[in-house]
Amino acid sequence: MKITYNWLKEYVDFAWDWPELVERLTMAGLEFEGVEDLGARYEGVVIGRVDSCCPHENADRLTVCQVDVGTGVNTIVCGAPNVAAGQTVAVALPGTTLPGGMQIKKSKIRGVASEGMLCAEDELGLGDNHDGIVVLDEDFSVGTPFAAATGLGDVVIDFEVTPNRPDCLSLLGIAREVHALTGNPLRFPNVQVTESGPAIAEDVRIDIETPDDCPRYVGRIVRGVEVGPSPEWLQRRLQAVGQRSINNIVDISNYVMMELGHPLHAFVIHALDQRRIVVRRARAGETLEMLDGTQCRLDEEMLVIADGTRPQALAGVMGGAHSQVSADTTDILLESAYFAPSRVRLARSRLGIFTEAATRFERGADWDAPVQALDRAALLITKLTGGEVAPTPLDVYPRPGQRRQIPLCVDRTNQLLATELDSAAIVQILERLGCRVESSRPLVVTVPSFRPDLTRPADLIEEVGRIYGFDRIEGRQEASGPWITQHNPELTFRQVARQRLLGLGLDEVVSNTIVESRWLELVGTADRAARLANPPTETQDALRTTLVPSLLDVARRNFNQRAAGVAIFELGKCFVAAAEKGVRPEENWHLAALWSGRVSASPYQADTREADFFDLKGLLEALVGEGNLRFAPADRPECRSGHAACISLGGEPLGWLGQASTDLCVAFDLERQVHIFEISFTALVRHWHGRERSFTALPKFPPIERDLAIVVRADTATAELIATMRDSAPHLVESIEVFDLYQGDQIEAGHKSVAFAIRLRDREQTLQDAQADAATSAMLKSLEVRFGARLR
């Protein structure tokens, strides 16, 4: 909503300059969008008085003038025929650039030095007239800037108005806010019309078929208007607030809408069949050619203003082309109505039309304003175009509006706002906002017709706080209410897990949850994905079921930026579509990591290996603790065959780990080996014993260490060897670690040699060498029996 500073002053007085006005209104809830200083273009132009004129000695048509410009008297050579001593004029001083682009310099004109120029209308950008200089009102004081003196130096201020405040979409509405803040009286514009000619009822008939859609419709006839361009001032004002000038009738209805906030429409009477106005729903198949030339197909839920046969306007949105005011129009019917907000909103959104009128109606117009707005427009039309106003408005008002009455408790107001206002202070604020207040307990507040947003006590409390000033309420930081926060194990573990992974050298990424379907097809989960009905882009239309493609995409991006290695993880939500319609997708926290490229951060004397399966496996073991983790060979669509494992924890499936398949790497332009794991974080949390761990007494007796190297078939799983060894001496085995693995010439083909470091300990007494030997022999024996192992 654009206003101008000077225009606003017509309705209310205030002692603020524009920045302070902006500040005050901002703190009352109007959001400042921008400002335009219309006077800036007149910088350097001042008011001057022509002291004397005499003809130029060397040129017939030029006059040499002595002009008082406040700071002194300048000699100015002028070519205008109308210049005369005693005139008050606009003087462009040397150094000025005029709105038309002309630059004024000190110069000699036919031998006479000239210090400035007396301006004509076109040079000031005020019109086309170049016949003579502009002669101004004598009252302007000499030396003052032209813009300030003439009021052309206005400032346009743009505010954003929240959707609950349709009343602020007008100069009067914003003046009401100033009134509420200052208490200075409001000046309502003149609406006194003189009526003459035949009464309206003899000329047109107005019927409302659906009063719920249109509770009120008022018409007024103005006969004998002369359609033409609007006067300068009107065009300038409309232009300043962002309205295009069309013709005087349309401009006046727009002017009144900007001034009072109530949209109006003018019909050409003779274009109305049977001279009737029928407010009704559109009939199936009806169409309407709009003012802007577009053809709209209407439906039965849309409200139209029809004549005896067909729609002439889309109610509250836009008029039709057929009955619009044109150059030869003489008699018009002015419409001023109140339409139901939802009805206007429906038509507006279905047809995709945005108009100033629709914005006001759909947010809620003032049901008490139609007659005033109509009279204001009729008055301006008679003043500016001639024409006479037919007696009495025709007010069809089947559903009279009721001012709402709301009880308001003073204590409740003070409690919620943390204020200590007495009843009188609250009453004063509400009355300045246009409410009537009965000073009872509770207060009974009758809200004005222009405030559709005030329906409940809470709304009134907001008004009190807003006008009193939220800034005057002191913030409180005392303890009150519940102070004990719950232990939140999942949240705690999310933080613990992230910190561990960061410490293990992985960077954390946060990627998009809305991904390309193609990505999910690559990993074979597209059929489980939930999809968007209106996706951001055509391809990006699915909710991720897995973090894997996102991590591959991040790897691609960073390898493209010449990263030596990418080691990343993401802890984020994944989604699986529900089987039934209307049920929300299932959401689960996943944890995934990707490692590719160099394992070390610094190239100096460091490990220059490329990360492999066991780097990532070790990392996962470090994160989770190896104890209950189990890895088993698996076939996975996203992995290279023979290089993937499924992971379980405490018997529950947790996820998988493996090397990304060649297809997947190609799809993401990745040339290096890429290893990934993805696990269910929700499952991991279930097995996380953060605080439930209990202490195990530290051993009192020394351990004995033994090495054992065996040869087994190459396809034997090491984990099974270890399990078998443990089972052979369950009470003595403290740990068994693999310390060497060999396959090659020194042992038979198809076999491998595995060497274990075994640590044995008896927790009750000192273990004897003989017992350790016996345990090791038992292990070897079991390995021989189960795996055909032999000692190496």
């Binding site: 901002t26 703190m27 009352a28 809830g29 959001e31 959707p163 405040r165 939802s342 947010r363 409690q415 919620l416 706002l417 809470a458 709304d459 706080g465 807003r466 939220f470 309420i473 913030g475 409180r476 009150s480 209410g481 519940p482 102070w483 926060t485 719950q486 949240l491 992974l501 960061l502 960077d507 954390e508 990424v509 946060v510 990627s511 998009n512 949850t513 809305i514 939930a530 968007l532 009905a533 209106n534 996706p535 951001p536 991006r557 960073n558 990263a563 990418v566 080691a567 990343i568 993880f569 939500k573 989604f575 319609k581 049920v583 929300r584 070390s600 951060a601 610094s602 100096y604 460091a606």
Partner: protein, 336 residues
Amino acid sequence: MLEEVRQLASVVVAEIAAAQDDKALEALRVHPLGRKSRLRQIARQIGHLPAAQRPALGEATGRAQQAIQQALDDKALALRQMAESASALDVTLPGRRPLLGCAHLLSQLTDELISIFQGMGFDVADGPEAEDEYHNFDALNTPADHPARDLHDTFYLEGGGLMRTHTSTVQIRVMEQTPPPVRIISLGRCYRKETVDATHHFAFHQIEGLYVDRGVSFADLKGTIEAMGRQLMGAETLVRFRPHFFPFTEPSVEYDFTCICKRQRANCSICKGTGWIEIAGAGMVDPAVFTAVGYDPDEYTGFAFGMGLERIAMIRHGIDDVRRFLENDLRFIRQF
């Protein structure tokens, strides 16, 4: 003999000083025919001398022995230092750096906010990102034809439901489950159908706060937001509350923080010289929201607030493009 002792001492000290390595030094110390042994012989003979000569000779041999021992110690130290400095490290060579990961800025901010609000007695709640119309709109006093629905362009799911447009949904889910009083924050991702550019993304992160109890007032809201502002942006941060409109709060406000430029620059790119940066919205919970979740609006009052994480991060760290957050360039991530 006295003269011999003095000469002997100075010769031995000179020999020690000339020794090139540990071995030479050791030889000087123990050689039986060396001058040092001669000194010991003299010392042993002192007892056989006339009593009058004894003190002078005794003192001289004692001094000579001391001087020699000192010379030996000094030389040993000098030789060790020489040997060590020959194998000195170049301490300016780079260290062998282990990998240390870097947390994503949004996660860091999330952790920071959780810590700030846990310190003020707020629990952390979680809610679904794929929501229904009821929790995202209706229960938040935003019925179907409410003009406020125009404020949000929403992603809808095939088969029903939508992607939440704000974290306010969690307010409803928590209050449905928990009788008052409640004091929670919730952090997470939200979605609005926006064209992606330097200042807009269709996916962004919010923090939501809610406190409901008997007697909660606007002063509590202000105090909480002020405390957050000071902890997030610096102790001197001021907060300004401007009236605004949200369907689910009444009164509604937008709050601004003082700009990091401290109003020193008229052309500040963050605040445009106003000194204030618009942060987010807040307000007192609308009675209609309480009714929707079965709380008695006459008995309970509360406040709610929201804030965009990307916006705070961009202001605080001078980040110029919101797309940086989800594109995961490690050169970006590792800066924080």
